[in-house]
Amino acid sequence: MDAFVHVLDGFSVSLQPGNLWYTFVGVLMGTVIGVLPGIGPSAAMALLIPFCYDLNATSALIMMAGVYYGAQYGGAITSILINTPGESSSVMTAIDGYQMARKGRAGAALAVSAWGSFIGGTVGIVALTLLAVPLTKAALGFGPAEYFMLMLVALTAVFTLTGTSPAKGMLSTMLGLTIATVGTDLQSGQIRYAFGLPDLQEGIDFIIVVIGMFAIGEVLSALEDKFYKKSDIIRLKGKLMLTREEWRRSAKPIARGSLIGFLVGVLPGAGATIASIMSYSVEKNSSKHPEEFGKGAIEGVAGPETANNGASTGSMVPLLTLGVPGSGSTAVLLGAFIMFGIQPGPLLFQTRPDLVWGLVNSMYVGNVMLLLLNLPLIFIFVRLLYIPTGILLPIVLVLSTIGVFAINNNVLELYLCLFFGIAGYVFRKVDIPLAPLVLAVVLGGIMEQSFRQAMTISSGSLSIFVGSTLTIGLAVIGVGILCFTFYGTLSRRKRIANADDN
């Protein structure tokens, strides 16, 4: 009953005029970010942080979450009109969305992606509301050993599922954990890995890493792409309406996409991109006309667009209930929580129910706002595609500078950010995924703390990590993920070798 009261109280928080305004600003910026090239939701959320210094935690987090799920809506616009996904999760939308646009059905493709995103997002929030309380109750029994194992499993899942090579994913994770150890050891007060630089004694702020890796790295890649790619924008004509037949064909893909999106989103590492790929393949395999896919099938837009929004909501489940993010974007959101001195997890539902339920319920409102923004007002967002990237990308670099400089007015941190920017660019070139690194930077400190607390409890015995049913279960899941990855890699190589022999 208490939980129900808290949920209702959350509406009173999310419907306050100030919070409605920040929800609107967040989803608006998210849509814009989704449309604009050269900057993704993770970088956008990190760049927003200096704008939040003056806000209360609830409003700031509502705004940043708005950017996160809003970006999924905006990503579809570029996929459909210029065949260039604004976000990786919109890659599948481009396949059939762009073909629909070429056949003069851009309006229908955009309409079905807006409706699908709305339904997928809303179903996800309902499921999040229902799941949150039982999950937090279960998580209340977690001790440091359980938390350490949980974070280890989350990181393992992320590095095995992100990118093309699990080994590079693991390397990325280990680099992130290495960065997280720089600075003062909180338990002994010793300064480590600071190389005699006083500025490093406090550690490396996650904002520096995120802005460098995502914003500067992305801008450098986008500046290079500017010389390779020339995109033609298909003009948006007619009404953003679906015919009765298009509604009939989209209904089941939207329903399936909602379910796939949420379930995949809850899993760490899987995220919106994998959800949209899975939804696309399910739709293609279950279709009576699979030959239409790739040539403008509306099911190929409805399913993936619904799934990526369902996944972005689903990924809030582990973040809010366990305090463990499952993707780069939710890791940035966790970083923002920590910046405000708030640790997400089961205790937060008891200590700050207003914040948690205010944030969750603001997503209902945000989804309605996004539907309104993306149907009648879509013509305005389409105009953003005409902004020259030669102006836009340098502006992102200045915004990145403000974002880092505003933390401590420290020039060394700017150079550190530039270093991470170059590293981000190089990592993209050599296919090292960035999300595991950022996730590890954010989780590294908490993970070390949990490890050492567990060691103190067990008087230095590592058996504590297999000392309860839960830790054993988590260890089995972690080992299972690793075995599955090894098996997948080996069998793929065997298949390739056999195919070559034949």
């Binding site: 704008f51 093309t164 590079k168 890995y193 030669g390 500078t401 403000i402 505003a406 230095g460 022999d501």
Partner: protein, 159 residues
């Protein structure tokens, strides 16, 4: 594939450097039973495991490529020399901007930085570039300093 071997070598070098720095941490057994080096040792081990895993992956790729008698392909085409030089110039320009931000101030340094970069990437549109740079820089300066309360350096404009 050669670049993957370079990554492996860099990872091993980083792991060794990290281990050396870890050994410099004074061991205070009174703080926690395994001491402050235990967790960094785990990270060192993780770095080494990832380097081994990556070298095995690369070896397998090489074997598969040699079986099919197809030369191993790099995943991305190397950027042409001109683009590489262009990106290096952007990085140097960004470095100069950071060096100038305190002595010249946010407004002047950002304006010069933006005009320079837009002239390069949006060529021939001087009026639009200068106007956009000016409006953006001045607008953001006032937004941050007056509305959001985030101080930005004044530099030469500090009368």
């Amino acid at each position: 594939m050669r670049r993957d071997y370079v990554i492996v070598l860099c990872t091993i070098a980083l792991a060794v450097g990290y281990l050396y720095e870890t050994l410099q941490i004074p061991s205070l057994d009174t703080v926690d039973p395994l001491g402050p080096r235990a967790y960094p040792y785990l990270i060192f081990a993780g770095l080494i495991v990832s380097a081994i895993w990556l070298s095995l992956e690369t070896l397998q790729k090489k074997k598969a490529a040699s079986r099919s008698n197809v030369p191993a392909q790099e995943t991305d085409a190397e950027p042409e020399g001109r683009h590489g030089r262009m990106l290096a110039a952007v990085v140097v320009w960004l470095g100069l901007y950071y060096a100038a931000i305190v002595p010249l101030g946010f407004v002047v340094s950002s304006f010069v930085f933006l005009v320079g970069l837009t002239a390069c990437f949006n060529p021939g549109k001087w009026v639009a570039n200068v106007l956009t740079s000016f409006i953006f820089v001045v607008g953001f300066y006032f937004l941050f300093t007056s509305v959001l309360g985030v101080p930005l350096t004044k530099g030469v404009l500090d009368f």
